[in-house]
Amino acid sequence: MAAVLKRAAIQNNAASPGKVEFFLKKSLKPIVFLLCLAPLMLLVYGAFTNSLGVNPVETMTRNTGDWALYFLLITLAVTPLRQVSGWSGLIRFRRMFGLYVFFYACLHFLTYVWFDQYFDWNEILKDIIKRPFITIGFVCLLLLTPLAVTSTNKMMRRLKKNWQKLHQLVYPISLLAVLHYFLMIKADYAEALIVLFILCLLLGYRLLKKFRVIS
């Protein structure tokens, strides 16, 4: 996992002249890479300093899940932001953000498997079959896996047109991820509604583009 992320981080796309471009190419990506690790670092720091609250497992589960979802929104925001702002350099961060979705989703699942079920695979299986919100979360993780695996340049070249088709899976995944979030809530939907609103904007933009309502 770390190796894939690292490769993504040091990945350089098209060469372009100019000092700003040079800075973007050489420094910005590693900086963003490290920033994306900050939520995990804060969790690790919190675990060592005993500051994750009195139910650290709940904090870890919530946090990793939240960040998987936030990175999903960030990833989906790259294309609209690039098109609206005209800053084409943004595209070089998309793969990294996408891999961070997978990274935090894996940590989220690991927290559940380890500290919620303590590797009781029988219970885990029952949970996945029986509880819709866990079923949906698990499906999200399953669907994210091929996207992470085929994120390399090599796979991109090998899959050609199919690569794009495959990676359009991110749209159903994003809807399922937000549904997973909604189904877990007891009463307060405020945060989930904000997430849903942002997702609607990001997907709505694409629909408007597709049907040529906006150019």
Binding site: G53, V54, N55, Y118, E123, P132, L183, A187, D188, A190
Partner: protein
């Protein structure tokens, strides 16, 4: 036993705690709580049972468990009290300025003695007891809490409920200015809860006005709350302003909000899952999380005292 029921106008001003005394008391409480927090954060060696002394003459109850008690920090920093916000840490933050006194409690419905009572008069007649109870939240975590208070049954008897009184309904204060969580309608305010009369009259049913020997902290339901140790935590309604004896089953907030998920009874039962998660195990707050969670017991381990209340009932149907 004679019953002294006073209207607020009957209370002599000398009986009311002078506000400066009251504020000093709160200040002292706040300082001692802060000290406890600092002690924990700095890991200063301190006795396991930090005891306040707000209830001199409190007696220890034989209903208490001998399990190790959760720390005051755990009990007061991890709360479900939506009146002060939906996050677990919200109540500790948002209830700081809540003033639980003066406070009055209305008793009404199917009883001979009803009326409006000042809190101090309301709790005065009872011998304060410390009861160390397990608390199991419907979300799958649990704590062990040293409550201070009195028997609900004793309290009910004083009001002489009539033969029509089949249920007791409790209502929490509704005042969005004092309880900022009520500004948004995340639940159907005011929060209400209810018990069948025989449940309420069970010796385990308890009214708490303190914990750890101190006046009940705001985030734990000050100034007076219910404690039903064999039921999921949300049945133990906080900051009570009204008690009503009724002939029909009263509406209960979570039951009204999500009837398929939270039943009227809401007894702790490892056999009956919440639709979204299993109730078989629980995480004891403060326990080592590298080790598996503990098994949840039927009626939260109080089956000997309460199982008879539900004989012949299908607990899957009446969950």
């Amino acid at each position: 036993m004679s019953i002294i029921i006073k209207k607020p106008s009957d209370i002599k001003s000398s009986e009311i705690t002078d506000q400066s005394t009251y504020l000093n008391r709160r200040k002292f409480l706040k300082q001692s709580t802060a000290l406890l927090g600092a002690a924990w954060a700095g890991r200063i060696a301190m006795p396991v049972e930090a005891k306040g002394n707000d209830f001199p003459g409190v007696i220890k109850s034989s209903f208490s468990t001998t399990e190790s008690i959760n720390t005051l920090k755990e009990i007061t920093s991890y709360n479900n009290f939506y009146e002060f916000g939906t996050g677990k840490r919200d109540p500790a933050k948002n209830a700081v300025n809540f003033k639980p006194r003066p406070w009055s409690i209305t008793v009404e419905g199917e009883a001979n003695k009803t009326g409006v009572f000042d809190l101090e008069d309301f709790i005065n007649p009872y011998q304060m007891e410390e009861r160390i109870y397990r608390l199991r939240c419907v979300e799958g975590w649990s704590m062990v809490i040293p409550w201070v208070g009195f028997s609900l049954a004793e309290m009910i008897k004083k009001f002489e409920p009539t033969s029509k009184a089949k249920y007791v309904e409790f209502t929490t204060l509704y005042d969005p200015e004092r309880m900022p969580g009520q500004i948004r309608r995340v639940l159907h305010w005011p929060y209400t809860e209810g018990l069948r009369m025989d449940e309420a009259m069970n010796p385990l049913s308890f009214m708490a006005v303190g914990l750890y020997g101190e006046v009940l902290p705001n985030q734990n339901g000050a100034p007076i709350r219910l404690v039903m140790p064999w039921k999921y935590g949300f049945k133990s309604i906080k900051s009570i302003i009204k008690i009503r004896f009724t002939e029909t089953q009263p509406p209960c907030t979570w039951n009204v909000t999500a009837p398929k998920e939270y039943g009227f009874y809401s007894n702790v039962n490892p056999e009956v899952d919440h639709p979204r998660w299993s109730q078989r195990t629980e995480r004891r707050i403060g326990a080592n999380f590298w080790e598996p969670k503990q098994e949840t017991e039927m009626f939260n381990g109080y089956a000997d005292q309460v199982a008879h209340l539900y004989t012949g009932m299908d607990l899957r149907k009446y969950f």
